[in-house]
Every structure is written in C-alpha cells, then in structure tokens.
Amino acid sequence: MKKQNTITMWILIGIIALIVIFILATGRTSLAPKPTPNGGGNTQQESEKDDYDVSEDTEDTEEIESTETTESEEESNQPSKPAGVTASMDTALFIGDSRTVGIQTYTKELTATADFFAAVSTTITGVVNYNDKIDVEGVGNVTISELLSQKKYDKIYIMLGINEASDYPSNIARNTQKLLDLIQEKQPGSVIFIVANLYVSETYQSSRPAFSTANMQAINNAQAALANNQDIFYLDPNFMFVDENGNLSMDYSGDGCHLQNKSCDKLVEWIISETKRILGL
C-alpha cells in the first residue's frame, strides 16, 4: 500500500509540477491557443481580450482604416437622395438571424409592412453559398435569390454575421460581398445598409469566445469596409446598447445576446432615422 501511495502521490505531484511549469513558462493558465491576429475568434479567451490587436494584421488594418474613412465621409459627404428610394417600410427588406426575428416579432408598429428574410441561426454563407430557404411572409419558402427576383425593394438591411463569428472576418466579408453583388444584380437602384452585428454581454461571451467584443468588432470592421457610401452604407448601433466595458448591456437584453422588446423598438427607430438622414429623405 505504501509503495502504491508513493507512486500515486508522485504522479499527482508530477502533474501539478508540469502545470505549474507551463503556467510559469508561458504566463498563461489556459491551454487554448492565443487568438490569431486576423481574428480567428473561436480560440480567443476573455482573459486575453486586452492582448487582442487586430491592427497587427495588414488586411484588417486596411479594413479599419477604410471604416474610419467611411464614417468620416458619412458625416461630410451627404449623398443625394437616390432615385426612387422612399422612407416607407413598405419597400424595405431585412435580411437577418434570430436578432432580426426579434425585430420582426416585436416592432410590428414600425415594420409591419416590411419584408423579413430572417430565421434563427441564419448565416451569410448559408444564404449565399448554400441557398438556404426561409419562409417569408406573403411570399413563401424561398432562397434570397428567388425573393429578390420576385419582389422589388428600395432599401435592404443586412444584419448577419454573428452566427459565423468563429470564421475569419475576411471570409465573412467575402461572403457579405457575394450577397451585396447578388442584391445589386437583382435589385439595381436599391440602397443597401449593412447593420453592424450587435455585441453580446460580458457573461455571454465568457463561455463563447468567438462572440467576444473584440472579435465582433473585427467582423463589423470587415463588413464596414464594403460600404461605398453611394448605395451601400454601414450603420453601427452598438453605441446605444453597450455598458461601461463596451459589451452589450444587460439593461437592453434578457439573455445577453438578443435585444428585449423595447430595445428592438429603439434599434428600429434609430435605423429608420439614420436611413432618412443618410439619404436626405
């Protein structure tokens, strides 16, 4: 028994020693790999959030710079009202995931006449690469291509990205570009708004590193870079819903990811007012 205890004891002490050496040598208490500079969010740990620096990556740096230009241009160069575009929700289409389903469900007073190509777990890659079908009220179960061929819209809001947050932002941007190309092909003359992915709460992201605010920002920046401020615009409503740490505030969300009823109203009101402001309507 004594010999067996000694062996077991040494094995346990050995394991502890190995872990201590690892911690001392690397300065980390996690085995998960450090986040890749280009935003491979699925490996990123909350504790390493401060180390995360997208500016190390050339591609993303360009995207961020481009975003900044986009925002400043938005302020100074007010585009003229595009022909045929109205402020009415009758001719608006929202493309999104469960968060957009929340808008569809809880903002009926504002968006009752708009169309929603939205379902839980929707991804951009699913929409453009796998032709996912979604049940659109009054139209039926259709792909985005079929919907855009059947109905005419003058304002199209894209609210996607979070469900593929573990993918590289550059891949998400590539697929977003495909969606933009498809919309422009099927709906010439329409105005497209890319709405930034809302962040999630601190608690929510603690167990889902891909949803970290840093990674969501990287995805948003990659999508924002696709805006041309002529007929594609970028809207970022996150400032309305963040807490003091820059994460989604639980004042606006019940589960740390989706907006509550009243917050959906706030978001849609802001989107409508921004649409009018940008388009001079």
């Binding site: 067996q4 077991t8 346990l12 208490t29 085995l31 809880y106 009243k262």
Partner: protein, 465 residues
C-alpha cells in the same frame, strides 16, 4: 466536457470503456483514476489553476484522513483545518465576487474587483471531501489507506461535476471489491441513454422556451406567457438535472458502482416537505447528516428546531449560488416548510386534489425565485404572473404565448407526462421485452445524437454549481 456532448459519447466513452474493460480487475481503479483525471483536465484547459486546486484538494483530504487515523489527539484540529480549507476555497471562488460587488455598492469610491471563474464541480467535490473528513473523524467509516482508492472516490468522472453527492461510505466496498456483470453493464447503458434523452430531447427544447421569454424581457410579456415560461423552466430544470443524474448512475453501473438515487418523481409531491425528500436527495441527505443532525436535529425544542431548519435552508439557498435571489429562495422554502410543519401538512395529507393544486402553484413560483437572479426583474416577473399586483389587466390580454405554444406544446405535454410515474411504470412493464427496450433506447440515442450533431444541445444547468 458534458455527458450530453458528441465529444464525450463519441470519443471519451468508447476509448475509456475499451481500456477499462480490457485491463484486469486489480487495474480497474487505476484505469478509472486516469480516465477521470483526463476527463477533468479536458474541462479545465482554460483554467489550469482549477486542475491544480482539484488535485491539491484530493491529496489534502487523503493525508488529513491518514493523519486523523494516526494521531487521534489531533483529530479535531485536523478536521477543522480540512473544513476551513474546503469552505475557504469554495467561498473565495463562489462568493467573493458577489461580496466584493456588495462592498463596492455600500462604500462610495470602493472599487474591489474579484473575477474568479468557478471551478467545475467544486461545490460537489467540496461536499464529498468534507463528508469524508467528518465521517473519518466520527469513526463512521474506516480511513482509506490507499490514495488511489480515495482518488477514485473523489475524481470518478460519473459523479464528479454534477453529482449525485456520493459519500465515501456509499462506495467504500465497491472501491475495494466490485463485480462487473454483463446484465448490470447493459442496465447501466440503458439508464445512461434514458437520462441522455431526458436531457437532450426534453430539457433542452423546454429551456429554449424559457430562454425566449428571458430574451423578450419580463416587462413585455403577458400573464399567460409568464406562466407558460416558468412552467417550462420548472420542467427544464428537473429533466436537465434528473437526466444528468441518471446518466451518472448509468455510468456508475457500467463501471460496477451503484451510485445513489437523486430524484424520486418530485413533481408528484403533495407538499413542499415531501418535494424536498424527492428532489436532489443526495444534497438533502448531506445537509441532514452533516448540518441538521449535528445541530440537534429534531430532538430539540420547537424554537431550536425552527432555528436548525432555518440554518439548513439558508445554507441550501446559498449553496446554489451567490445572489440575493438564492437567499430569498432558501428563506421562502424554510418559511413554507415551517407553515407546513406546524399547520398545513395535516390538511395536505387529507385533501389530495388540493395538495396537488397547491404544489402545482408553488413549484413554479419557487423556481421563479431560483431562476431570476436580478431582484428587480424578479419583482417585474411576479407582477406578470399576478397582474393584480400593480401591472393591471392589460397583461392578461396579450397573445404572445400562442406562437411559442404552437412550437413547444409537445414538449410541455411530454414534460407533464414524464413528471408522473406513468411512463416509468410502462417502461417497467415492457422491461422484459428486449426488442421493445432496444428499439426505444435506439430511438432515444439516435434522436439525442442527431440533436447534438445539429447543435441543439445546451450546457448543463448545474455546471455553475
């Protein structure tokens, strides 16, 4: 790594059991110890310090037990130091953040920051370690002289992260000598699959209904939706935890251990007193054995009895989490149990229908306090449950419950059915018909794996404990 995950079922289980069954009997404890250490390691790769804490805890308890045995004079200080160590660590990880937040809110300018992530299973292995030390101190169990055997007792992956809370006495004999019979192993496989089905096919969808309500926000829901939501949560919590406990018992049998029953149809109870004899039975036993009886149990005067039960229920409340809602929850249960003990129980025993209606109302209400951690939200939620408390009748006329009910009514119905004894009696009846059993279990396993593959699985609720 949760039991209801493809990694556990598809990778860990086949590899572990292949090794476990191949090695000779004398090596099985070593195999189980290695497997359990690997299992816990996989769960702590993000917080390696938790792994160290766990191993230190195992080693400390073992040597404290040996020391108590060798030095009877020092028994008491050794026991006290062990208890202080365990509860000190548990307090630091589980309650320090909450305490710091409260201090910050009470003292202007104070900015204490405590961000400790709760180690997986700490509430369970702490209670097991403490029970062992107390049992050795009392002399009710002989000290374990093998570190390997003691290590298996604490680390056994079947019960490590979510119970049942197994006392050393319960598994002592099996740790030293156990039999592996094909019939028991197959029985264990069946129990595991059944538990998996309850968790994946029933608890998870019902959890989504509650999550939907939570996401909308309590101040926007109708009274009926509030009731539907909290009933869904009540079923979710039960089938989540019951399912996980069954999986643990099934795994135990597959390894030759008979782990204790944790649930006994709690939702058919006719009083809260009876409910807590049927719900999380191993936790109730632990508090009775190591808190209630040492305080004097019921062999004391009425005032002392009320005090003893108050202590037990407040501890039960805060064991479940750091937050005022858990304090309120524990207090409410104590108050209800006192009312039942001194007044209501005799009527509940007499009036069967009334007693069931009483519990149908009380169970979801008690879980509402448990589920909603923010006290302000809890208040809002109660005004939705009872619209005459300030909200007014407008929340009665909402139809927001129709859409979720259209989706989730089969799960609510199944939840109701599986809360009764009927399905289990049916299963018992068909137990001898092997074809029926195999078909039912294969369907449950197939359905569960499909749901897990499709990503419909949720983390186990009790992981935060």
């Amino acid at each position: 790594m949760v039991f209801s995950s493809l990694e556990f079922i598809g990778i860990f289980l086949p590899i572990f059991f292949a090794c476990y069954y191949i090695v000779p009997m004398r090596m099985k404890n070593a195999m189980l110890f290695i497997g359990s250490l690997v299992f816990y390691f996989v769960g702590t790769t993000d917080h390696l310090e938790h792994y160290i804490l766990f191993l230190v805890s195992v080693i400390t308890d073992f040597w404290l037990g040996i020391a108590m045995d060798r030095h009877p004079k020092w028994k008491k200080p050794l026991l006290i130091s062990g208890i202080l160590y365990h509860f000190g660590v548990l307090f630091a990880y589980k309650y320090m953040g909450f305490v710091a937040g409260e201090i910050n809110s009470l003292i202007p300018g104070m900015d204490l920051v405590v961000k400790l992530v709760l180690p997986i299973g700490i509430s369970f292995y702490t209670f097991q370690g403490v029970s062992y030390l107390i049992d050795v101190y009392r002399g009710t169990v002989p000290v374990e002289k093998s570190l390997l055997n003691y290590g298996v007792y604490i680390t056994m992956f079947a019960q490590l992260i979510a119970g049942p809370i197994v006392t050393f006495d319960h598994v002592r004999r099996e740790l030293h000598k156990r039999e592996l019979k094909i019939k028991t192993i197959l029985n264990g496989v069946g129990i595991f699959i059944f538990g998996l089905g309850l968790k994946v096919l029933l608890a998870n969808p019902l959890g989504k209904l509650w999550g939907q309500l939570d996401a909308i926000g309590y101040d926007s829901i109708s009274t009926i939706f509030a009731w539907v939501g909290i009933i869904a949560f009540s079923f979710q919590l039960y089938f989540d935890f019951f399912g996980y406990s069954l999986m643990a018992i099934g795994l135990g049998r597959m390894m030759g251990f008979e782990l204790p029953q944790n649930f006994n149809h709690p939702y058919i109870s006719r009083s809260m007193t009876e409910f807590w004899r049927r719900w999380h039975m191993t936790l109730g036993s632990w508090f009775r054995e190591y808190v209630y009886i040492p305080l004097g149990g019921n062999r004391v005067g009425k005032v002392a009895l009320v005090r003893n039960l108050f202590i037990v229920w407040m501890l039960t409340g805060i064991w479940h989490g750091a937050g005022y809602n858990f304090v309120l929850w524990g207090f409410s249960l104590w108050a209800i149990l006192m009312i039942e003990k001194f007044f209501l129980l005799k009527y509940l025993d007499k009036w069967k229908i009334f007693s069931h209606l009483y519990m149908i109302l009380l169970i979801p209400l008690s879980w509402a306090i448990f589920a909603i951690e923010n006290m302000e939200d809890l208040g809002v939620f109660f005004t939705r449950l009872f619209p005459f408390f300030g909200q007014g009748p407008e929340s009665l006329i909402g139809i927001d419950y129709l859409e979720p009910l259209q989706i989730y009514w089969p799960f609510l119905l199944a939840g109701l059915l599986f809360s009764t004894t009927l399905p289990y009696k049916l299963l018992e009846r068909f137990k001898k018909n092997k074809v029926v059993v195999v078909v039912v279990l294969a369907a449950i396993l197939g359905g569960s794996i499909y749901c897990m593959y499709m990503g419909y699985d949720d983390p186990f609720l009790y992981f935060r404990f």
